[in-house]
Amino acid sequence: MKRLIALILVVVMAMSFVACGNADKPADNSSNTSSEGTVDVSKHHKIGVATVHSGENWEIAKTYLETVIAPTYNFEFVISETLSDANGLIAFMEQCYAAGCDGFINLVTSNDAISQGAHKADELGMWFVTQNSAWVEDVAELPKNIGHCGADPVAVGTAYKEAFSEYLSDGQPHSVILFEGAAVGGDKGQGAASHFYSAVGVLEAFQEAYGLTYDKPIADLVNQQDPGEVNTGNPDVHIYLYPGRNPNDAVTALLPVLQTGNYDIFAAVFSFAAFTNAISDVETSLGKDIKVIGTAQIEKQTKTGFETQDPTGDTVLNSAILNDLSLACAINCIELKQAFDGHADAMKDNGKTVLIGVRSWAVNGPETYAKMEKLNTSPELYILTAEDLLHYAEAGITWQDLDNLLADLASVDTLLERKGLN
């Protein structure tokens, strides 16, 4: 009996290892042709990917990496389990090096992880790119560190400002509770830059709409550790900021604030869905509609948010600030491909890494989202297709070209036109 149990446990343990690695078969293509020239893809490259993500959005990005980018560039990806810190990153990098990886995409976003990872990559001789929203200066000149690409923090703030302006332009006084996530210190490389600028965008939108006179500079208000109401100088306009990384704690803490009935907008820089039951309870209790604006991804949850009705008959999610992991992954891979082909310098600015920002999209209402949701559902509907990938892998492409590309894609209308979805 004991032996049988031990055998069963060994089998379960062995099967569990299936999830720990991802060894796709190398593609057998030797060259691919772009519209303007040929990009040599005969050499096979193995790329380590250290992720902090999980869930549907990450699965979409993984599918894109494995089914579009891998065959196009003759890449093979070794993808980590969900990592959280520098130690996990370094251990995984060493495993990848042992497995023959010559390139690495790092999604562990803390400054110390990026710094240690870049040094380790330099030591191991692996090209290293990071997917994050902040430039890390102390490793900017390391030869093997190519650069950063992630959600453009300032553009996220602009998207929030745009989304809020639509609600605040009706001449009525509005009030907001903002779950600002890791915004504290986001402008100093300590928190999340995108969260910081999201909060700044919201405060600026309110300031411009109502001529508010805050008692502190906006950056200081966002950098306050303790949750609380901002002194707006207008008794009819309330702004409540809640910094915190755990949505479950935030839900409990914000319920009493929501119940005051002072607020008619709720915004969350991540995990908006975690708050929806609490908001529905308050809407039922007070008989009042609360608009929900949240950072989201192009995935089923966002669609559900736009299609589900709250107790007041409005949609559960009213506006979404959309980010796309797949696009950032594509830029990371273009940077690596350029480096493999001997053009790493073109991805840098005078030998220093740069931050290439993916612009967020403000989507107000289900109609626009119904078009956006078609993105990433087939090879031709990824924002960058195989043909685009080959084009941007050509010699002569620089980081400015990639930045210009992302700037062109900043508008929802332009993006939808480009993909034939408008």
């Binding site: 343990m13 290892f17 999980s54 699965e59 389990e81 303790d226 803490a253 209790s285 559900t304």
Partner: protein, 338 residues
């Protein structure tokens, strides 16, 4: 037991939530000019959080009181809830079935962990770490890394209803009370808590008993998982032994519950402790402290209570020792005089 003593015990038990509420009410009024409980929604939130904390503390108590700290409980909670949820959703069933499936899977994971414990004889904490890593992978693979997302899923509303949550918690408390007081399991638990060696020598099958404890803990912790995910709408399939934090966060409720339970019953004690600590945490939320400050305050109170627990008998022991010394001196003086 005399009537007056029973009345004192009831007062002792009730004193914890009442005094905590009073203290938080005064602090909230002084610092924020707010009440701890202002509306029915506050009561609903406190009921839900009490339920989650109490059921998790019940689960912890099965093993921890016998000296086994199962570090895989969080992973069992995650695995049972996610797999149960995915199965219920795949079959188009309601939230009630999610709860049933989660309990069944939690029970199964608990049995397997218990069997691993008695077969391999690895120390419980070491085994717990290993089993946690295995159980974490199961929902990760089954959900394709996505975890469980109940946002917008039809038929799950029952799980967030207050009456249902109260019903679940009361049923659990009664079940634990019956198990601990009127069944073989309760008798064996008390014996093993006293001395595992003596219990074994007196004919108790301590191995079967350990598996039963693991199984019940697995089932209970999945109920807590379902209550939690029904409100927050999502549970991630996290790897890297990160799943146990939500379980160990309820250790205070279990230990305080054991203390309160000395005057009543363990199940009543844990329920009271969970209620007390939920009021305490809710009060801190009203006072608008940040998450890190809340954590520090919670941990300081926990450590303070552990210090009290460790030293509460010292005064009595010193008094008894002094009395013995006095008596010895008296006897010596008497014998010298004689």
């Amino acid at each position: 037991m005399k009537k007056s003593s029973k009345f004192k015990d009831v007062l002792f038990t009730l004193a914890f939530p009442v005094l905590t509420w009073l203290a938080m009410e005064i602090l909230c009024l002084l610092l924020k000019d707010k009440h701890v409980i202002s509306t029915m929604l506050d009561i609903k939130t406190i009921i839900r959080n009490t339920g989650i904390a109490a059921v998790t503390a019940f689960a912890l108590s099965f093993n921890l009181k016998e000296g086994r700290f199962d570090l895989s409980l969080g992973a069992q909670r995650m695995a049972g809830t996610i797999i149960g949820g995915l199965l219920a959703m795949a079959l188009g069933l309601s939230g009630l079935w999610l709860l049933v499936f989660a309990v069944v899977f939690g029970f199964a994971f608990g049995i397997l962990t218990g069997l691993a414990f008695i077969s391999l004889r690895v120390p419980p904490m070491v085994l717990g770490v290993g089993m946690a890593l295995i159980w974490e992978v199961v929902p990760y693979v089954i959900s394709g890394g996505k975890g469980l997302n109940l946002f917008g899923v039809e038929g799950m509303g029952i799980l967030t209803e207050s009456w249902f949550q109260i019903l679940v918690v009361v049923v659990m408390a009664v079940l634990v009370y019956i198990l601990m007081n009127f069944t073989r399991l309760g008798y064996e638990t008390k014996a093993v808590q006293g001395s595992q060696l003596i219990a074994r020598n007196s004919g108790i099958n301590i191995f079967r008993h350990a598996v039963e404890c693991y199984a019940l803990a697995g089932a209970l912790v999945c109920i807590a998982g379902v209550l939690d995910v029904s409100f927050s709408t999502q549970m991630g399939a996290n790897l890297g032994n990160t799943s146990n934090g939500v379980v160990t966060a309820n250790m205070f409720a279990m230990i305080l519950g054991s203390y309160i339970g000395e005057k009543s019953d363990s199940s009543v004690g844990i329920l009271t402790a969970a209620f007390t600590l939920t009021i305490f945490k809710y009060g801190l939320s009203i006072m608008e402290f940040s998450d890190p400050v809340n954590s520090v305050i919670n941990m300081l109170v926990f450590i303070g209570f552990l210090v009290f627990q460790a030293n509460r008998h010292v005064r009595g022991l010193n008094k008894a020792r002094k009395a013995r010394v006095e008596l010895a001196k008296q006897r010596k003086a008497e014998s010298a005089a004689a």
